[in-house]
């Protein structure tokens, strides 16, 4: 994979042409994204919450799956860079009329869109769009199937770095439905690339991939052992339909085994932080006391999401500009 990701995502000088997956990106690139985001954090606190970096650029939010929060943070990020934003909820319009994904893409390109931010239920969609997009058009993956959600992973890394300073020596537990989670896949890649000392996946076997260890995690089926002494706990969202698919007997049993309670949280490092990509199912993944408690950094994750997305959008637009210039020159 690394080969094709590298050629698709990066130009010859390792600059981001698209942002599709963490897979194939090195530590320097991830660190650079975090550093750039650090520069953007101040923008949200100013009177005028805007910088002129992407003025005159058109960014299309191409969401084939509804997601208010992710779409909104991408929209805010693009607007704070002074780009114009088109929001397209395709699930309702084009595909139901039989228009193919490629048709939709071509139509938008005819409107001179400079960037596609894509969310889709099928793994590989962002890759597909990046392969077919016009030269000069950047693609950012806002979640494709179970595959990747790289901006979410980067905002989580940003949150961890803000609280822990560095990644070396950290132990991180990811708890819950790793099997269906694009967030977990991207987080695992990012954490390992940034050099944490251990990533743990804590879940029953029905919610783990067939060969979870090959992803680069230590597998735990017991929550108490899994979060013992860790510095970061990332709780994943549990979809209701997992009960229908015979993956779990009930929310009740899931919470009794894997729910994060104050009592269990005490097993982690005393300075541990608790994260969740949201939205939280209170009483299923974690207790309200934990979600709203002092160790929870869930709301910070949301606000850091804007800075991370500003960093990624501006980097990709910048590299695509360069590319067009090289063609012209």
């Amino acid at each position: 994979m690394s080969f094709s990701n590298k050629t698709l995502q990066l130009d010859d000088e390792q600059r981001l042409l698209h942002f599709l997956t963490i897979d194939g990106l090195d530590r320097a690139t991830l660190t650079e994204i975090l550093d750039t985001a650090e520069g953007f954090t101040g923008v949200s606190e100013r009177t005028i919450k805007k910088v002129p970096l992407c003025r005159g650029k058109v960014v299309a939010n191409l969401f084939f799956e509804t997601s208010t929060r992710t779409r909104t943070t991408f929209e805010l990020a693009a607007k704070r860079l002074s780009a114009d934003v088109l929001n397209l909820n395709i699930s309702a319009s084009a595909t139901s009329k039989g228009e193919t994904l490629l048709d939709t893409l071509r139509n938008l390109e005819a409107m001179h869109v400079d960037m596609f931010i894509v969310r889709h239920a099928s793994s590989g969609t962002a890759h597909f769009i990046a392969q077919h997009a016009d030269r000069g058009v950047g693609v950012i993956n806002a979640g494709d199937g179970r595959h990747a959600h790289p901006t979410q992973a980067m905002l989580d890394m940003f949150t961890i770095r803000r609280h822990k300073g560095e990644f070396a020596g950290l132990r991180v537990a990811i708890v819950g439905d790793v099997l269906h989670s694009r967030v977990a896949r991207s987080q695992i890649l990012a954490l390992n690339t940034l050099g944490v000392s251990e990533v743990r996946a804590v879940a029953p076997r029905t919610l783990l991939p067939s060969d979870a260890r090959s992803l680069g995690v230590h597998v735990y089926h017991n929550m108490e052992e899994g979060i013992w002494d860790v510095d970061v706990i990332i709780m994943l969202r549990l979809q209701k339909e997992r009960m229908q698919g015979a993956l779990l007997p009930s929310e009740h049993e899931y919470f009794s085994l894997y729910g994060l309670t104050e009592k269990r949280l005490a097993l982690a490092d005393s300075e541990a932080i608790v994260m969740h990509p949201g939205p939280i199912n209170r009483g299923v993944e974690m207790d309200s006391q934990v979600a709203d408690g002092s160790k929870s950094v869930i709301l910070q994750q949301v606000s850091y999401g804007i800075a991370i997305r500003m960093a990624v959008i501006s980097k990709v637009i910048g590299t695509q500009n360069l590319r067009m210039q090289e063609v012209a020159g």
Binding site: M1, F3, S123, G124, F128, H132, G145, R185, S210, A212
Partner: protein, 436 residues
């Protein structure tokens, strides 16, 4: 009807695995049938001679499994386009699959298909009939009528039966008429909308997986049902080493069962789907290296007696979507022989065994005395240049389906002539002249 030419194919290396022949000699054809090898009778006078020096002369290939898309999906391919592509790949007989629109579940559709194939004239078509009506898996098709209309076997194609009781009864009913049942062994529920092999690559790319057990469970179930019902079954497109091992056991036990494998399963594996190239989206999915090696071994040991193209031509749109949303399949007719010969290059197979898996192997599975150069048999012949290396270019495929993952691969050999019932249906030179 045109008078059939009497033909002499001179100086080729004639390989006829069924008859144990591998020698440089001449082959003579009269009245559309094989006349003899070596010197012809004194009165014989060829009206056409083919110089086959430095070339291999073998029986025309029999492809056990190809979807020709007609009727119903002519935007993908037609019987005319695909049988012409088959001829250029040395294939003289195709067992086409019933998953068309309408499904091949009535004699009328069988008649229509056979008529179109005769009209095109490139290839012999032996249709597979549907095992259940409209392949829906609940009501039996009129198998006796299908057999009478010319169906060589019955199958539910790529829609495995979910209901084991229906499967049992279908097998019993088919065996009443000595109809071969072709089964794509796949447990309906375990497949669970997967699109790739459940393994490391699927884990990483987040693609829904089809576990190996979906195949092995079905193989075990179907073998048990075959024993209960006395049906003769054939497993199509094995994809796992474990299923191949079960086949080896079944053969040792003397079960009446056979198996084939799609040629791409012997060359590709799950790592080829990295980068989400939809041309590698196939069903059953590409599994891991040890599965590929296990399948190669089973082919070498004749546990798997036939290699097929599993030809699934598609229009460009069918593959122009995110990976899981694309239609599975490879346009494989034209690479069947060269990719099989590549296995000879790689030391997996002896040349005569490779040819056997494409000729007498599939013929024996079908219970037909075909795929051999026996005198008085129809002269279905393939002549290929075993040293003509070429690079696959999807745009140059004759098939209407350009969906091949083998673009850019070097092929070790190329078909120069194909004869169907003693008639030249493909010649590299004429093709090249026509093309220019």
């Amino acid at each position: 009807m045109r008078k059939k030419k009497d033909i002499s194919i001179l100086g080729g290396r004639v390989i006829d695995p069924a008859n144990g022949i591998d020698e440089i000699t001449d082959l003579h054809i009269a009245g559309g049938k094989i006349l003899c090898l070596g010197s012809p009778p004194r009165e014989f006078q060829a009206t056409l001679t083919i110089d086959a020096k430095e070339q291999v002369v073998c029986p025309g290939l029999i492809d056990l499994n190809a979807n020709l898309r007609e009727p119903g999906a002519e935007h993908k391919a037609t019987i005319a386009s695909e049988t012409q592509a088959a001829a250029s790949g040395g294939i003289t007989t195709i067992c086409c699959t019933p998953d068309t629109y309408p499904v091949i579940d009535t004699p009328a559709v069988v008649g229509q298909i056979r008529h179109k194939a005769r009209k095109a004239g490139y290839c012999r078509l032996l249709p597979q009939g549907a095992l259940t009506q409209a392949l829906k898996g609940d009501r039996l098709s009129e198998m006796a009528a299908l057999k009478a209309a010319g169906c060589i076997a019955v199958t539910n194609a790529y829609t495995p039966l979910a209901n084991t009781l229906v499967q049992r009864r279908a097998m019993e009913y088919a065996s009443t008429f000595n109809l071969l049942i072709i089964l794509r062994p796949e447990d309906h529920y375990l497949s669970n909308n997967g699109c790739v092999h459940e393994g490391k690559v699927a884990d990483r790319l987040g693609l829904p997986g089809i576990p190996e057990a979906a195949e092995t469970v079905a193989v075990a179930r179907d073998l048990a049902l075959a024993e209960t019902t006395g049906a003769v079954i054939h497993f199509h497109a094995l994809s796992s080493a474990s299923a191949a091992r079960t086949m080896a056991w079944a053969k040792r036990e003397g079960r009446r069962v056979s198996a084939d494998v799609a040629i791409h399963q012997l060359h590709l594996s799950e790592t080829d789907i990295e980068g989400f190239d939809s041309n590698h989206h196939v069903r059953p999915p590409l599994r891991n290296d040890s599965d590929r090696n296990g399948l190669r071994d089973a082919v070498a040991k004749n546990v798997i007696q036939a290699i097929c193209s599993d030809h699934q031509p598609h229009e460009a749109d069918a593959k122009a979507s995110p990976f899981p949303d694309t239609e599975p399949g490879i346009s494989g007719l034209e690479t069947l022989l060269p990719l099989t010969l590549k296995l000879v290059d790689q030391g997996v197979l002896e040349l005569s065994d490779a040819i056997a898996r494409l000729t007498c192997g599939p013929a024996d599975i079908l219970g037909l005395r075909m795929g051999r150069l026996t005198p008085n048999h129809p002269a279905d012949i393939c002549i290929f240049d075993p040293r003509h290396r070429w690079i696959v270019d999807k745009e140059k495929l004759l098939s209407a389906g350009k969906n091949t993952p083998f673009t850019g691969w070097e092929m070790p050999a190329r078909v120069t002539h194909t004869l169907l019932k003693g008639r030249l249906v493909y010649s590299q030179n004429t093709h090249e002249e026509n093309a220019t």
